[in-house]
Amino acid sequence: MTKRSRLEVLRDILKIISENRGLINLTPLLRKSNLSSQRFYEYLEDMKSKGFIIGRSDGRSGKKISITEKGNRYLEKYSSIMAFIEEFDL
């Protein structure tokens, strides 16, 4: 199995959240992302700073992550982005 690129990992994480009706607990997200805990939190911070996700604290079930409009836009544009990078060999 080849190593996923940064853009692929972002897509995978956002897809997991999106398929969970746009809201997911942190623990199952970490499990489903297939990343080490350190890398997962690095990506999470990156995605927060980009405005793709928002973290919410829920008293009962711990921290939840929700996808933003920009995150959904990334998912929509993902195939165009990859096609563009490949076309122009970037």
Binding site: I85, E87, D89, L90
Partner: protein, 224 residues
């Protein structure tokens, strides 16, 4: 009177040519804005910068052409033109070289260190300075042929690596053609008579390449 008419026609062609290329380059820059905003991908960033610099370089080029056309008409080199000329020439060479380097960087950014871009800025300033300080056609030719050779070498070796990974990418040919015609555009400014016979052909080929790249960009970005 006839000379004046010819010069006016030449100026008209220059304006249309520069306008189309500048618009194409700016459209490439603008239409890739969202892709860059979403990804912060370095390759996309340098690709966009290349076309922004092409737009600026063509704008400066049209100023120089304007000065040349007017200078030929009046046969007088007044103080203002004498001071504006070298400054615009310096900026033209700087932005031209950087446009080529950015394009190169967009393809090879994985192999280059981040700080390498500052080295390219430095090289471009040196190229612009040398062109300004040593007014010799031989020097102009050597510098531009060297620039083209470096670009072609890096692109071709990158293409070789890619072929070994069994990927096809015809865009490298477009990149090389773009740089060849761009260098001819630079030489057209530095040594005005060198490509005069083929000037229209060079302009048409350059327009075709920029329009082709714009078409590919708009098709891939969805152009929304």
């Amino acid at each position: 009177m006839q000379m004046q008419q010819l010069a006016m026609q030449g100026a008209g062609m220059e304006v249309v040519y520069a306008f189309v290329i500048i618009i194409c380059s700016l459209m490439v820059y603008i239409s890739t804005r969202e892709l860059y905003r979403l990804t912060s991908h370095k390759g996309i960033r340098y690709f966009r910068m290349a076309f922004l610099f092409f737009a600026i370089a063509y704008f400066v080029r049209s100023i120089i052409k304007f000065i040349i056309i007017n200078f030929n008409l009046r046969a007088v080199m007044d103080f203002h033109i004498r001071s504006i000329g070298p400054i615009t020439l310096f900026f033209f060479m700087y932005f031209s070289s950087m446009a080529i380097f950015y394009l190169l960087y967009s393809v090879k950014w994985r192999d280059f260190k981040d700080k390498m871009i500052y080295l390219f800025h430095g090289i471009s300033v040196v190229i612009a300075g040398v062109i300004l300080l040593i007014p010799s056609n031989t020097v102009y030719l050597i510098i531009n042929i060297l620039l083209l050779a470096i670009f072609a070498f890096v692109i071709l070796t990158s293409r070789k690596q890619e072929q070994s990974r069994k990927k096809k990418n015809s865009l490298h040919v477009v990149y090389i053609l773009l740089s060849v015609f761009w260098i001819l555009n630079i030489l057209d400014i530095l040594i005005p008579n060198i490509v005069k016979t083929y000037q229209t052909l060079i302009y048409l080929a350059s327009l075709f390449i920029f329009l082709l790249i714009l078409y590919k960009v708009l098709r891939k970005t969805g152009a929304d």
